[in-house]
Amino acid sequence: MIIASNVSKQFSRLKALDNVSVTCNKGECIALIGPNGSGKTTLIKSILGMVVPDSGFITFNGNNILHSWQYRNKIGYMPQIGRYPENMTIGDVLDMMMDIRGGENELDEDLIHSFGLDLLKRKRMRTLSGGTRQKVSASLAFLFDPEVLILDEPTAGLDPVASEILKEKIISEKEKGKLILITSHVLSELDDLVTQIIYMQDGKLLFHKSIEALRSDTGEEKLAKAIASVMINF
């Protein structure tokens, strides 16, 4: 569904992406793992067209995404740090997004209700805590029932209850056959979610394996331990 071919991106001195090629298919739940600054977010932003690669190209359903925008109709994106216009209330932001994007897709308001955001609709974005912002970001990502979900550190800053709700939601969407891309540093919670692992370091893609292959290669059952043994070997 999403194919990146030899994507490179340089930020002044730093090589954020170095010849990355990756293929993501429908029904997969892919974890993007790597140390801080390894290029995970840059890769995600390139897929979303927020960062324009220096070389290489990315296709979505066979179409090059460069200068195209319609494909983003099919993507729900939850950023690492959700930044919203400070003067708007939660209700304003939700209404605005529905106004801009709402169309043929049916709205999926599950998360808004289960996070209790409908009770906070009149709160201004600037007064919100980091966790509540994350809830808004998550609700927006799932709101339009997209085919692809890109979640950048989805559970960072969420309390255990909320992060459990989000995990349940991710699993139920995965079962519907959607493509889900997650980055996270909390490996233990990815165990029961993901089917594939992409490991990045210094802008390079080191491996892309299914979780079963990784388990049998390293002989570890838990993802956290498997990744740790990989990191030591590199």
């Binding site: 927020m50 925008w69 494909y71 950023p79 930044r83 216009p85 994007r101």
Partner: protein
Amino acid sequence: MKKIIKYVMTDILRNRIVMIYTIFLLVTSFSVFSLEDNDSKGLLSLLNIILLIVPLVSIVFSTIYVYNSAEFIELLVSQPLKRKSIWLSLFAGLAGSLSIAFFVGVGIPILLYQANAIGGMMIGVGVLLSIIFVAIAMLAAVLTRDKAKGIGVAILLWLYFSILFDGLVLFLLFQFADYPLEKAMIGITAFNPIDLSRIMILLHMDVSAMMGYTGAIFKEFFGTAIGMVISFGVLLFWVLLPVWVATRKFNSKDL
């Protein structure tokens, strides 16, 4: 695109600065007209205030607004929207609301005291100047990533157009005083929208009689219909060029 313009416009019009700017213009215009016994003299005083204040407020406010909307822009870019339409909506929203502010603040008093051709021209020029400096501000904001630097660049640009440019022109005039520069001066004014607006309006007032030989040459050019069309065309060019360059830059900007 209409939807984004709507959100930008409501956000700006809710902003107190634009309200204060409108009221300031209103108070100034009315007091200038009531201080001067002669309305066309009032128009002249108003012209000088407009040429100083309108570009300054437009450029500084727009630059700061674009930087403060970074989050909003980031949010929109990740949605199924064309980058070009996001950027142009931002421009339309800013230009629209600052033009409305100018029209309410200066246009209405002019229509009350001096509802003639020259008054109308002044309103047109003022609205165009507001839009030109919004365009220049957006170019400055897209070129510099750092907010403080961007605002600094915006203020320097204003300083250049309002003060430094005249100094440079004077310097040129004295250096080449032996040559006939009168015709070339018409061309040089095209490089500064503020000067161009000033000359366009001054030459349609009675005071133009006091401007000597250069004034006569200017009058020969700006007094004709073709001259007016060309100068409005140049002002329009000052809107289109920065907007075009800024949109191209924004299209390939990393967010």
